[in-house]
């Protein structure tokens, strides 16, 4: 009996450290594939160095699935502390009113960390001058090209096409050399939005919806027509190919990696993947700025990717722990690590400094294009990007219009119809939040 009591007490005593209360923070994200494990390792590092806090990261699927899951959880009163929301979901996140501005959590001693964000990124995520969310993974579209195929077609591998016309000419030469397709990119509205920004044009009124809520979308602007007529020319001449399915990022990657297309436009977040693919498939990879329409001054690109939002309604203790984690997760060292492992942009000035000191961009020139492109982006409303509550629907309206144009509908007509649809959808959305 005495021995039994002794053993019981010893077991209970050894369990006491487990009883010590840790502050729990939940983090829901949409980073899949190899990135899930990457984030998991970062979270484990944080938990190890901050024993009073326990962060759990969960991969909830796509950006859309993560947002839906967060909404449902909030309705049940069990919202996660941190949610990763894609850039065009920012207006939705604001209108939902379940998040609190990140800047409200930050004390004056942490302000230096907020000032450290790169201008274009801070520009996008600051709404009315305040950080509502903290930037984490930012990307922009770049041109990947197969230097080996370029040499085969007699094109200069160190001078990739920079404008729409140059792309058409390069495709002509590539086709003559027997390469099936000149260029590919996913049939996704994101690229259209980028080309609008490069021309310094706006997508919506009220200064892209940033000065006041937008009420009119400019789908049939001259800037849009320029993009569509170039795209249609490429498609009709057989220079541009896509797998057939809209928003097929993997399909476009496959076309490029398999050597069927010599050029690819996609997000810089795939640089690491593309480098590995180039090594496996025995070709030399090159990267460059997004090609832009001729005759315009390059205005810059809109920051893509996502940011991390904090839900409200938690105790000050938990909020403090959340803030600590977020500032750690996006600090200089971790941004450098995240960039090297994926290709996503290092969003801090200090991270950029570290990479420069390490001569990272000299040794890995493929990562440089997105970097230079973002830093040379001009700060204005066009590159700040539009703020629209029904952005997902707008993207489908634009992809539908593109497919109609491919099928033969005149560009002016297709864009006019799309414009009507977009404005009607926006009016309905605005009515629901009035």
């Amino acid at each position: 009996m005495r021995r039994f009591l002794l053993v019981t007490i010893l077991i209970l005593a050894s369990a006491i450290p487990v009883w010590a209360k840790k502050i729990k923070v939940t983090f829901w994200h949409a980073m899949g594939g190899s990135r899930t494990a990457f984030i998991q390792r970062m979270v484990e590092d944080f938990n190890y160095t901050h024993p009073q806090i326990e962060v759990t990261a969960e991969h909830k699927g796509s950006y859309r699935d993560t947002l839906n899951a967060a909404i449902l959880a909030f309705k049940q009163g069990k919202a996660p502390n941190i949610v990763q929301i894609f850039e065009v979901g920012s207006q939705l996140a604001l209108d939902s009113k379940i998040f609190m501005p990140f800047q409200d959590l930050v004390k004056p001693t942490d302000y230096a960390m907020l000032d450290d964000f790169i201008k274009p990124v801070a520009n996008y995520y600051k709404i009315k001058g305040k950080f509502n969310s903290i930037p984490f993974n930012s990307s922009n579209p770049i041109l990947y090209y197969n230097k080996t195929l370029f040499k085969k077609a007699g094109l200069d591998p160190n001078n990739p096409p920079k404008t729409f016309k140059e792309v058409i000419e390069a495709c002509k030469k590539l086709k003559q050399a027997g390469i099936p397709y000149g260029i590919t990119w996913p049939l996704h509205s994101w690229f259209v939005e980028q080309w609008i920004a490069e021309q310094g044009a706006l997508l919506a009124n009220n200064e892209n919806g940033r000065k006041a809520r937008a009420t009119d979308i400019y789908v049939d602007s001259p800037a849009m027509k320029r993009i569509m007529s170039w795209w249609k020319t490429l498609y009709d001449k057989g220079y541009y190919a896509y797998s057939g399915k809209p928003e097929d990022w993997d399909g476009a990657n496959n076309l490029f990696v398999s050597g069927q297309a010599a050029m690819l436009i996609t997000s810089t977040s795939d640089v690491t993947i593309m480098q590995n693919a180039a090594y496996e498939h025995n070709f030399e990879l090159g990267t460059a700025f997004l090609p832009v329409p001729d005759g315009i001054e390059r205005n810059g690109v809109i920051v893509g990717g996502a940011s991390l939002w904090v839900t409200k309604g938690h105790s000050p203790q938990v909020l403090e722990a959340t803030k600590k984690f977020l500032l750690w997760f996006t600090n200089t060292e971790n941004e450098v690590r995240w960039h090297k492992g994926t290709g996503y942009f290092p969003v801090r000035e200090s991270a950029v400094e570290v990479l420069k000191i390490q001569h990272w961009f000299d040794k890995n020139p493929a990562y440089r294009a997105a970097f230079d492109q973002l830093l040379s982006t001009k700060t204005n409303r066009a590159t700040q990007g539009a703020l629209l509550g029904m952005f997902p629907e707008l993207r489908t309206i634009i992809t539908d219009a593109v497919q109609k144009i491919f099928a033969g509908t005149p560009i002016d007509q297709a864009l006019a119809e799309a414009d009507k649809r977009a404005d009607a959808a926006l009016a309905k959305y605005n009515r629901s939040v009035q």
């Binding site: 190919a241 399915k245 649809r421």
Partner: protein, 297 residues
């Protein structure tokens, strides 16, 4: 209280045994159905934080907007073709598999396999096969006739591919049930017809098919329901609603309006519509069965 007929002498015991199922059905089926019906009269803001009563406006949009009329048309084409084809091919394969051939057990096993495949896996397989540039179908087509067809970016072809994928998956189910039905047909009736000099064609249409009619009715109802609801995976994976909305069917539109666009009220109205369509179709099929289905006595 004593029950006059029925298995249970005690009414109370019967009720208690049914109660768990009733509770689950109420929570997961009846309550959401009623709620959805009510929700269809509102325009719901993102997250359901605000609801504006709009009466029949959602239904008006569904019945008058050209986009939704297109969706109804697509759904009709998809359901008619996929149900028709999968029943016809299923019956044909079952007839063949019913003969006494060598290895018929293996054939029967192989025929049911596609049904056991998750729709998502089947969808990805078809996506790879029909990829315009690198798919195996276009590779063979190129070899044979030197052409590559735009399977997923041409409106008609995209609908054909989605129907094909759906039919391929449903065939196994139909084959199994038809085989069972065929084996229940008394051999002496067919022998008598053979002795009387009836051709194979006559024997099939005058004897086999009528005797299979209960099975046909059952499969018709099941396939229709499946075509309305289970087609979601194929459309999401293969075409995402298709070139300019040409393969958007009702179930896909409900998902998109509800979870991508967050237009919950409109999606609820569409759900009510879908529910109504399936109920009406099932009632029609059951009514027709009274005239056309022969149950063996």
């Amino acid at each position: 209280m004593q029950a006059k007929n029925g298995y249970f002498k005690n009414n109370f015991l019967a009720l208690v045994l049914i109660l768990p199922t009733l509770v689950i059905l109420s929570l997961f089926l009846y309550y959401p159905t009623i709620k959805t019906f009510i929700l269809s009269f509102y325009q719901v803001a993102f997250l359901g934080l605000k609801k504006v009563f709009v009466g029949l406006e959602n239904y008006k949009i569904l019945l008058t907007s050209s986009e939704y009329l297109q969706i109804f048309k697509n759904t009709f084409i998809f359901v008619v073709w996929s149900v028709g084809l999968s029943l016809a091919i299923g019956l044909g394969l079952a007839l063949l598999a019913n003969h006494k051939v060598k290895g018929k057990r293996i054939y029967r096993l192989l025929l049911i396999w596609p049904y056991a495949l998750p729709p998502a896996v089947a969808g990805v397989i078809f996506l790879f096969m029909f990829n315009t540039q690198t798919g195996i179908i276009n590779y063979l087509l190129n070899h044979l006739i030197g052409q590559k067809w735009a399977w997923l970016s041409n409106p008609t072809l995209a609908m054909a591919v989605v129907i094909l994928a759906s039919v391929w998956k449903a065939i196994g189910y139909n084959v199994v049930f038809y085989l069972a039905g065929l084996q229940n047909i008394p051999g002496d009736v067919l022998e008598a017809a053979l002795i009387d000099g009836a051709s194979a064609w006559t024997r099939f249409w005058k004897i086999t098919f009528p005797l299979l009619s209960p099975m046909t009715l059952f499969l018709l109802v099941m396939n229709t329901i499946s075509a309305f609801f289970d087609s979601f995976a194929f459309i999401d994976l293969l075409t995402k609603g298709g070139p300019a909305g040409s393969t958007t069917v009702l179930i896909y539109s409900i998902y998109r309006d509800g979870f991508e666009y967050f237009k919950t009220g409109l999606a609820a109205a569409e759900s009510v519509f879908l529910f109504g369509c399936v109920v009406i179709l099932t009632l029609i099929q059951l009514k027709c069965s009274q005239k056309m289905v022969h149950y063996a006595r």
